[in-house]
């Protein structure tokens, strides 16, 4: 301890009044430091992109009053984590490793196996890795609420303020197109009469 090389968080100055003498007592918004509750639907979304959005809001980096010490993070509720969609072959190729601490305790599990065992774990680990490695990480993880399906407890449902748009635009399956839309789609080429379709 001694002379701190840092500076007092600006967030604390907002409450006490204007920070610069040129601003005449900026209007005090008493709700500026209140915590918001956001909802994200992870159905058919890449877990990395979901995790990026969540980590930004858990830290409070989406607010212009952000400071690491002002504890300005919000709550995030992620729903349908069972239905996340990895791109490529990551379900088979991505490996989650852990060590129990005992000799011979090194375990490696593919993403598919981990998801089977615990539908929340992939999103949780992704968000945990994206948060800053400091003591606030655990408090931020406590403000994260993950649910494998659409079932949310009532207390959390009542707190939700806003639903965030999904990062990935989910493409429609062929059976979700109507007959008219399929017929109206421009044809690139017409097969000849003796062409055999497999």
């Amino acid at each position: 301890m001694g002379v701190r090389g840092g500076f007092p968080p600006d967030g604390f100055r907002c409450r006490t009044g204007s920070k610069m003498s040129s601003f005449t007592k900026a209007a005090q918004q008493w709700a500026s430091f209140s915590r918001m509750w956001y909802l994200i639907d992870a159905k058919m979304q890449p877990p990395g992109k979901i995790a990026a959005m969540c980590s930004v809001r858990l830290q409070g980096k989406h607010k212009p009053i952000y400071h690491a010490l002002s504890d300005c993070g919000d709550h995030v509720v992620v729903v349908n984590t069972r239905h996340i969609a990895f791109s490529g072959n990551k379900w088979e190729q991505k490996v989650y490793s852990s060590h129990s601490g005992y000799p011979g305790g090194f375990k490696q599990v593919t993403a598919a196996q981990l998801h089977q065992k615990d539908p929340i774990a992939i999103v949780k680990l992704a968000i945990y890795g994206m948060l800053p490695r400091n003591l606030s990480r655990r408090t931020m993880m406590q403000r994260l609420h993950l649910f494998p399906d659409e079932i949310i407890p009532d207390e959390i449902l009542k707190n939700l303020v806003e639903e965030l748009p999904q990062p990935r635009q989910v493409p429609r399956r062929l059976n979700e197109y109507t007959r008219e839309e399929i017929n109206a789609f421009p044809r690139l080429w017409t097969p000849p009469d003796d062409y055999r379709m497999k």
Binding site: M1, G2, V3, G6, F7, D10, K19, H62, P64, Y66
Partner: protein, 187 residues
């Protein structure tokens, strides 16, 4: 003390008695205790030497900077001296770090504010520079917090300039060049 002998001024001192003459001829640093038979003036105050009258205040100068420390280094001089020296080193090093940290904080705040308006930070800054709006990051961060409407209009300006830049780059000639992308010469 008009009649005090001054060992450092051998010339102009009145030597009263053989004892004081002996005192004067002694070199600096030798013991000034004389045998009782030779002493003429026997005042005790002459024997008690003050090694330095202001140690207390010299220590206080250091301890005042250590009063908010933890443990014995806020009370005990030898421990406090080391702690205060380190504290001063850290303080001077931190003067450079403070500038870096403040700039990083401003940038993250401006980025948050501009994302609220649909623009990313590099796009905002580059397009404001291209519009000859020379606001620095400190001012932009303060506007983002305290003057949200002003910041919104700045973001709109940057967005418009960005679109004009795209159309100038991609459109190639047939459309008229934009309003904000016209080069303004200050003469």
């Amino acid at each position: 003390m008009s009649a005090g002998p001054a060992p450092s001024a051998p010339g102009g001192v009145r030597a009263r008695g053989r004892a004081e003459a002996g005192l004067l001829r002694r070199r600096w640093g030798e013991s000034t205790l004389l045998p009782r038979s030779l002493m003429v003036f026997l005042s005790l105050s002459r024997w008690i030497r003050s090694r330095g009258p202001d140690r207390y205040w010299r220590h206080q100068e250091v301890l005042q900077h250590a009063r908010h420390f933890r443990g014995r280094k806020n009370r005990c001089y030898s421990l406090a001296v080391r702690a205060v020296r380190r504290a001063f080193f850290y303080s001077t090093k931190a003067k450079k770090l403070k500038k870096r940290n403040m700039r990083m904080l401003w940038i993250s705040r401006i980025a948050a504010g501009s994302r609220e308006h649909g623009l990313k930070y590099p796009a905002l800054i580059s397009n404001l520079i291209k519009c000859q709006v020379e606001l620095n990051r400190k001012v932009l961060a303060d506007l983002a917090i305290y003057e949200p409407k002003t910041f919104k209009s700045l973001a709109a300006l940057a967005k418009r300039r960005r679109e004009e830049g795209f159309s100038n780059a991609l459109g190639d000639g047939s459309e008229p060049t934009g309003i904000f992308s016209r080069i303004v010469h200050s003469d």
